[in-house]
């Protein structure tokens, strides 16, 4: 809990890391000033790109005492405004799951190598980033906590599978190796409430450590304060749940 007598400082800037395949990619890195040790978080941007909203989310985590890094998962697709880059990526069917997992692994390794890390790292993502967060919790063993916000396409039917996304993430549920926090809006069209039910039922059957919170008045992207879909009370509660979950698991 912040009190007004606390000193507070933060450094935030763009850095470069070696991602999947050794490719150099940009990442936005925000961290509190001070010796630490600090817990860390990899912040996974959504399909609209490595945008201002995600830089603000990254700084929000730093403000709460986390070493926060948000890799530009679209770094290889050219440089331009986040919207132009994201539009180009969308036209190519998104980025491959393997490439994304490689970039997330590299981001986590980078942040864990810092002298002021406490040795624990979580990940947070919304929409396609929520899907990537869940997949990372199953396919990588570096994360200690997973926050999946309305992961779209965690449950995919066969017609949605592509060369870049060859398997539905829920097929990997049995491999989930970190506690999972899931946040969903009941008015979301995707994931639908039925898909969230299925997702939860599969986690339960596999005996996984998870907690789901569902907001009856919220739709897709309810934490996006720059979109009409923003739902204030759900968003405020969801952020509280995010920080409570992270404090319990990686602080």
């Amino acid at each position: 809990m912040y009190t007004t007598d606390q000193f507070e400082g933060m450094i935030a800037n763009t850095t470069t890391i070696k991602g999947y395949n050794g490719d150099e990619i940009n990442a936005y890195f925000a961290r509190p000033e001070g010796p630490g040790p600090f817990p860390a978080i990899v912040v996974i941007h959504h399909l609209p790109g490595w945008d201002e909203l995600y830089r603000e989310f990254t700084r929000k985590f730093a403000h709460h005492g986390y070493l926060a890094i948000s890799p530009d998962l679209y770094s290889r697709e050219g440089k331009g405004t986040p919207e132009d880059v994201a539009a180009a990526v969308r036209a190519e069917g998104g980025v491959s799951d393997d490439q994304c997992m490689g970039d997330l692994q590299a981001s986590a390794e980078f942040i864990l190598s810092l002298p002021n890390s406490n040795g624990k790292v979580g990940t947070f993502g919304t929409c396609s980033g929520g899907r990537h967060a869940f997949l990372a919790g199953c396919k990588l063993d570096i994360f200690d906590a997973i926050v999946e916000c309305w992961g779209g396409n965690v449950i995919m039917n066969s017609s949605q599978l592509t060369e870049k996304q060859p398997k539905s993430p829920n097929e990997f549920t049995s491999q989930l190796n970190a506690p999972l926090l899931g946040l969903f809006g009941d008015l979301d069209q995707s994931p639908t409430p039925d898909q969230v039910n299925q997702h939860e039922s599969e986690l339960k059957s596999a005996n996984k450590n998870y907690e789901f919170h569902r907001y009856p008045e919220a739709g897709h992207g309810f934490m996006y304060y720059d979109r009409p879909i923003y739902h204030q009370s759900s968003s405020v509660d969801a952020w509280q749940k995010v920080f409570t979950f992270l404090e319990k698991n990686i602080s």
Binding site: P48, G78, A86, R90, A91, G152, N153, Q160, Q189, I229
Partner: protein
């Protein structure tokens, strides 16, 4: 979620982007989240020239109803133009 629904077609024409006119190469028609329009899903159309970089893009975001109306309107205009014996369209490459 992001639907990833995208239909593509090669295009011949010109588009006016943030840095002026450029030759078009392709149209990408998405049924997905818009960047700016205030609804969850819409028809987003990008006219692009990939070889000129990601910024060579003319974009519109339409409601599904508007997109249908636009498609019908384009067909109507084409039919009128193609029926007019005095109009000859030629494309100079």
């Amino acid at each position: 979620m992001c639907t990833m629904i995208c239909e593509q077609a090669n295009m011949t024409g010109s588009g006016k982007g943030t840095e002026g006119w450029f030759p078009l190469e392709q149209a990408n028609v998405f049924y997905d989240h818009p960047f700016h329009a205030p609804w969850e899903y819409g028809v987003n159309i990008d006219f692009v020239n990939k070889s000129m970089g990601v910024g060579s893009r003319v974009s519109v975001e339409l409601s599904p109803e508007s997109a249908k109306l636009l498609a019908e309107t384009i067909i109507k205009a084409l039919e009128k133009g193609e029926k007019d014996p005095q109009i000859k369209i030629s494309v100079l490459d």
